[in-house]
Amino acid sequence: MPRTRRRGLRAGRAIGAFALASLAVAACSGSAASTAPATPVPSGVIAVEAAKDSAYSFTPSAITVAAGSVTFSVKNAGNEEHEFEVFKADGTTVVDEIEGLVPGLTKSLIVTLEPGTYQFMCKLNGHDQLGMKGTITVN
């Protein structure tokens, strides 16, 4: 085997090992946390469950909250991936979003909301058209 090819293979293996090691580190930090008991949602946080009442729904779908910094804790209670996107009243201007919400996962979103109405929905694969949306009234 020519020297350059041997060096290339060795380099390739070393880099592959490094990449795997990096992922392993990330995974290990995860498994340490997995032994801790589940923490309840602290007050001041709005808990939303996706796909709980039906496959394409948000529970609750009508939220009222005081203006300022709002924390949403969104849990995927279904068996498909979902998103949680907060829009201004026009339904098209994005305020912020949660992506990659796989089944069983809970993710948080902190947004600053001024008084008015907002919408939230899952636009992934058009779920919003199947009813996966809601409104936020901020006063």
Binding site: A26, S29, L105
Partner: protein, 274 residues
């Protein structure tokens, strides 16, 4: 488990496609020795993605939406630029190998060209890599995540790498002309898809107004579903594009396809005969 599988698969597919094509191309122009540099570039992109993902998660937690969407849009624009350059450069090199250019062309991969190919592989991986890591960290560190969810994600990533390898293996086997025609066409569609993607990201970031729906195929073929993801990665398919995204897609696709395709044998034969 299926959800994380497809999540990881669709993130990895586009990167795997580009890296597979670059690797096959290097073998075909007798430049296997440049492969370790590409592998190193991919490895560096993976490492940097993990580092950036961890840094973002454990410092600011999440990038502000405007920053995130703008960065993604810019990365996509950069990828389109490099991809377009690579398409026409590859085609020129391919013609030189076949001896179809009249004057001699220096076939040696100049340092600049090697860097560009490695750079493209790096960009392709880091674009998807950072997003993948930012998706993975919450999944891995959440105490309610079952082993099946993690396994699904790992499997999705592995299949992406396998697909990249399969593209490399197939590309190495076919003849040069077919290789350039097929990969060139696919890459044009990928780049057109990236143009639409950049428009979508700049729209979400609020930099441009990107409203309305040109058509909606989400009930038939959602672009984040199993088949749709593959079409999205390969051909830039979008199930519910806005008029602007659709316009951007074809504004790139049609001229570039035309320029790429007008290099037909009959034109060359005519030029040689005269």
């Amino acid at each position: 488990m299926l959800a994380t599988f497809f999540l990881m698969l669709r993130e990895g597919l586009e990167a795997a496609l580009i890296v597979g094509i670059i690797a096959a191309y290097l073998v075909k122009i007798e430049r296997r020795d440049a492969l370790p540099k590409v592998i190193a570039g991919v490895g560096a992109a993976v490492g940097l993605s993990v580092a950036l993902g961890l840094l973002i998660t454990f410092t600011i937690g999440k990038l502000p939406l405007v920053v995130q969407e703008t960065l993604e849009g810019l990365a996509a624009v950069l990828a389109v630029g490099v991809l377009t350059w690579m398409l026409f450069w590859m085609r020129r090199q391919g013609r030189a190998i076949k001896g179809e250019l009249e004057h001699g062309v220096d076939l040696a991969l100049s340092i600049g060209s090697t860097r560009a190919l490695v750079g493209l592989a790096f960009i392709a991986v880091i674009r998807e890599g950072v997003e993948t890591v930012l998706f993975l960290i919450p999944i891995l560190s959440f105490n309610g995540t079952g082993i099946d969810v993690v396994a699904g994600g790992v499997l999705g990533l592995i299949i992406s790498v396998v697909v990249g390898w399969a593209i490399f293996a197939a590309g190495v086997r076919v003849n040069l002309r077919r290789f350039f025609t097929v990969t060139g066409t696919v890459l044009i569609f990928v780049a057109a898809g990236l143009v639409a993607f950049a428009i979508a990201e700049f729209g979400e970031g609020g930099l441009i107004a990107n409203t309305g729906t040109a058509f909606d195929l989400n009930r038939l073929l959602p672009d984040q579903g199993p088949l749709g993801s593959v079409l999205r990665g390969l051909f830039g398919y979008r199930s519910a594009p806005t008029p602007l995204e659709l316009a951007g897609y074809f504004a790139y696709l049609i001229p570039v396809l035309f320029l790429f395709v007008i290099d037909r044998p009959i034109i060359r034969r005519t030029a040689v005969a005269s």
